[in-house]
Amino acid sequence: MQLQYGQVVGYLPDFLIGAAIALAIAFVAFGFGLVIGLAGASVLAYGSAPARWLVRAYVSFFTNTPQLVQIFFLFFALPEFGILLSPVQAVLIGMTLNAGAYLTEIQRAGFRSMPQAEIEAAETLGFTRFQTIRHVIAPHIMKALYPSLSNQYIIMTLGTSMAAIFGVEELTARALNANAISFRSIEIFTLTAGLYIALTIIASALLYALGRALFRVKASVF
């Protein structure tokens, strides 16, 4: 048996498009998940008892079941209620709901690290509302949250490989297709693994630089 990477490098441009799609799926799901998480964390911090119970049930359900089965459910069971989702929609909604649960948990910690005394000090010093958020609240909350948020983003980038099972043409799906055509299995999947490693290392480096520049966070990412 000889490994012949020469036969699979031709797939590289195709795989890179797949990688871009994977990043895009992760980005969209993370963005909406962040909104859901913020809403959930706000309810947990300020909501009424039944609302808090609902959010806790949501978080507990989505963090205790596999993302794959959640998407299976959305994709195969919802049509029985007359809701027909395309593969991309099912994956995006599933990943968003899943991310929303984890991001609720993460952002809950942010509400606890709100620097009350410093906010009052900033008001006294005549900071505008925006300046208070930009220079006082955000650095505090971000110091607590940024590493977890970045980790979640990387985890979600890796999680997009699940979309292949539903026929979304991202990196893993393209690898499976290339495998079916060329039968150079081990070469293709090690190449794909290498691409995921490179992709997430680049994402980690960017997230680190971003955190440093915007919020002065010096935590290691993933």
Binding site: N64, T65, V69, F72, F73, T160, S161, I186, I197
Partner: protein
Amino acid sequence: MGALHQLAEEAPRFFTYWNMLFLGQAALNTLLVSLLGCVLGYGLGFVIATLRLRQVMAHAAVRGALAGWTEAIRRIPFLVLLMCVFFAFQLSGANQTLFVIAVTAVTMRMSALAAENIRAGYESVPERQWEAASVLNIPPLQSLFRIILPQAWRVILPPSTIHAVSMIKETSLVSQIGFLELTFAARMLNQRGFSALICFGTILIAYFVISWSFSRVGRVAERKLVTEARRVRNGGAGV
């Protein structure tokens, strides 16, 4: 609601003794693969984390290679790792069952997560204790087992239950190579004509019950550890 009507109509056909036996065995397979993989992975992760210690392994090249392994495995999606393992077995000509392939993949993934976790535990113990041990002429492995680990395991234990729970969920991907665990069983029942609603709904509840009870146990153990640590620190009864 037509779907709910259908659900009520097919429930007696679905929740039969044989179907539940089938799902129960599949759930056992899920548990077996993930927990066996966790145990083996933690063993391997312990070796990796220990060999990454400057005090234990003198060769920087070995330490670097192990750091590379840990970093790389954590950045490969489990599905892709599974495919790599699957085809590597095929390439090597070793005729192994899907169970062995699945456990190997879980073990590899777990070894990287465990190595990181155990390393964090090692780092929670001040460097000075290593130095003190070395001044007292205690060999590195002995100081690891007698001095460092007794303090580090409180940091190591809580995330390990989280890892076990996350592995139970991630093994749902093993259904892709055809290993009969919960997710694969649900797909089989679905193909035998039961609605997706009842098949996937049932295993969602099954996964929830399994993983919720595991994280509950983990949380209780963690709380016990924390209070115990506080009691020891306050000079109460030692362990």
